[in-house]
């Protein structure tokens, strides 16, 4: 197999949450794929459906209100949507790992970290010399003094160290894909960079694919090969990092990039997108960004936009917009 084989392929994924006010679609037909050894960024603001997409892939949507309403999630050819819960339990950790946002609450407070890394190894059917294996895993994620730290409890460690331990747990099963849901948001800026370097290092060593969910465009530029931009449960733009950053082809992406502060540009007021993301139960037929979009016309507000090639016609660069052609 070459590097360009898609390992994870999400097609037309639809996810619903059944609220007391009725079911709302939080993921509305999302399709993307990740190749082996590739890092895909999923960018979007809060409520854009990026975390729900991740939870759908792991099949750990909030019970009992969340459910996958349609589409397919193919991991190495197998459709995860069709699997039973017990089959899915065997997939989690072994084939797809996940790193959650807050390291401070991601570890069980009553066990030592060694105990928890060993548990992850046991889940993945490893036997014998588990303590040594746990220590070497902790060394792999750059936990200093691993042989001693293995006996420490989570509350005795810093956030950055805990997130490394969570990383060690998620690579214990040598998964083909790791989904990282804002893993650096709760960390100090200096630790963030170290952690991103660690993820890159793990990827180089194991060839695992990474799906990196974030709202930090700086991290995307630093870490990812390709990215998808999500808005209101849909993908509005997809492409390589170079294409999307140099030739953003959806007004929302343009606005996002304009909202990033630059050290070398002096501005009085930082750019902000007017208005709020739409509440998901009041989305109409047209483009969901239309109410906030400076280019929107009547067609945008009534007819769902087509998927068109990006402005510079880069390979695999697409935007869901009526106005891409008109953008300067």
């Amino acid at each position: 197999m070459t590097k360009n084989d898609p390992i994870l392929c999400v097609k037309n994924l639809r996810t619903e949450l059944a609220l007391s006010s009725g079911a709302i679609e939080v993921v509305r037909g999302v399709s993307f794929s990740v190749n082996k050894g590739e890092t895909l960024g999923i960018v979007g603001e809060s409520g854009s459906g990026k975390s729900m997409t991740a939870l759908s892939i792991m099949r750990v949507l909030p019970r009992p209100i969340g459910r996958i309403a349609g589409g397919s999630i193919r991991l190495d050819g197998r459709d995860l949507v069709q699997l039973t819960e017990s089959e899915m339990t065997r997939i989690r950790g072994r084939e797809i790992g996940m790193i959650l946002q807050d390291p401070h609450t991601s570890l069980n407070p009553v066990y030592t970290i060694g105990n928890q890394v060993i548990e992850a190894l046991q889940i993945n059917q490893q036997r014998g010399g588990l303590l040594e294996k746990a220590i070497s895993l902790l060394k792999k994620v750059n936990v200093a003094d691993a042989a001693r730290r293995v006996h420490a409890f989570p509350h005795q460690m810093s956030g950055g160290m805990k997130q490394r331990v969570v990383g060690a747990i998620s690579i214990a099963g040598a998964p083909k894909v790791i989904i990282a849901d804002e893993p650096t948001t709760a960390l100090d800026v200096t630790i963030q960079l170290q952690y991103l370097e660690l993820l890159e290092q793990i990827q180089q060593e194991t060839g695992t694919a990474i799906v990196f969910i974030t709202h930090d465009l700086g991290i995307v530029a630093r870490l990812c090969h390709r990215l998808v931009v999500m808005y209101a449960g849909r993908i509005v733009e997809e492409g390589t990092v170079d294409d999307v950053f140099n030739a953003p082809s959806h007004p929302y992406t343009v606005a996002l990039l304009n909202s990033v502060p630059h050290v070398d540009r002096k501005v009085d007021r930082l750019y902000a997108i007017k208005g709020n993301p739409p509440a998901l139960h009041e989305i109409g037929t047209g483009c969901s960004f239309a109410p906030r979009c400076p280019l929107a016309d009547t067609r945008c507000k009534t007819v769902s936009p087509p998927t068109v090639p990006g402005k510079n016609h880069g390979q695999g660069h697409f935007a869901a917009c009526w106005k891409t052609g008109e953008m300067a």
Partner: protein, 279 residues
């Protein structure tokens, strides 16, 4: 245990508990001055020391001339045994059902919680009376009633904590790391509610001892001639005006045991609660 917590240790209740319940329960055979079952008809209704009695029978004797002190010391076995066995079974049953209820939710949850409501609504004394009418009073019956009365407290509390724990990040992390439902319940939820279970069990000891005494007093608990405390109190009921000591001393044993157990339970709850421990 920090030095500070040690200083706050409820020493008097612990001492009392050992004196009244734990030491007698294990050592009654050796420390009791008389056999609790052998009557001495020449020494019937002897008053205790200080009220005209002698050191032969420090707490006096009952209608059949049996040594009250020996009977109370031997009675501790029943109080301790029944509360330990009853609470152990009730706690295990209640915890298991509470974990299932809180983790699985849905219709399983509804059924288990309605069962709890039913056991709380059903008067336990009435149930004991009915059961005793069918099978006759026995030790097993008392344990059964105890389990029936207390399992619901455990189930409800454990379910509530499970509901909150199952939404915690480390449980979510365990799920995405491939942990099965059973593993999550046993390794991630149960150890984190152990504190609650221990405190609850301690606080139930008082309830159970009172319940056992009540059942015995009513004659549907431990069968005679066993010297259970409730039975001893019942024995002295008709003579309470003239021979008050027959009821008073077993009653005092019940009172001191329940009081000290509750004080220890309160301290344990404070000590195990990390929020209060910081203060």
């Amino acid at each position: 245990m920090s030095r500070r917590a040690l200083r706050r240790l409820p020493l008097v209740p612990i001492l009392l508990l050992f004196l009244v319940l734990i030491i007698p329960a294990f050592l009654a055979t050796w420390i009791a001055p008389h056999d609790p079952y052998i009557s001495n008809l020449r020494a019937r209704l002897q008053p205790p020391v200080g009220f005209g009695g002698s050191w032969d029978y420090p707490l006096g004797t009952d209608r059949l001339g049996r040594c009250m002190l020996s009977r109370i010391l031997h009675g501790a076995k029943y109080a301790l045994g029944i509360s330990m066995v009853g609470i152990a079974i009730g706690a295990i049953l209640g915890t298991a059902l509470g974990l299932i209820s809180g983790y699985l939710r849905g219709w399983v949850d509804v059924i288990i919680m309605r069962l709890v409501d039913i056991t709380f609504a059903l008067p336990s004394i009435l149930l004991a009376l009915a059961l005793a009418a069918i099978s006759g009073p026995s030790l097993g019956l008392v344990v059964l009633v105890v389990v029936f009365v207390i399992w619901g407290f455990f189930a409800r509390q454990v379910r509530a904590e499970t509901l909150s724990l199952r939404e915690r990040d480390f449980v979510a992390r365990a799920r995405v790391a491939g942990a099965s439902g059973g593993r999550i319940v046993l390794r991630y939820i149960l150890p984190n509610i152990m504190n609650t279970i221990i405190v609850l069990a301690t606080l139930q000891i008082g309830v159970v001892i009172i319940l056992e005494a009540t059942l015995s007093f009513l004659g549907i608990g431990i069968p005679r001639p066993a010297p259970a405390w409730g039975l001893l109190v019942a024995d002295g009921r008709q003579l309470i005006v003239s021979n008050w000591w027959i009821s008073l001393f077993p009653g005092l044993a019940i009172l001191l045991t329940v009081l000290s157990v509750n004080l220890i339970g309160d301290w344990l709850r404070d000590w195990l609660d990390p929020k209060l421990r910081q203060a």
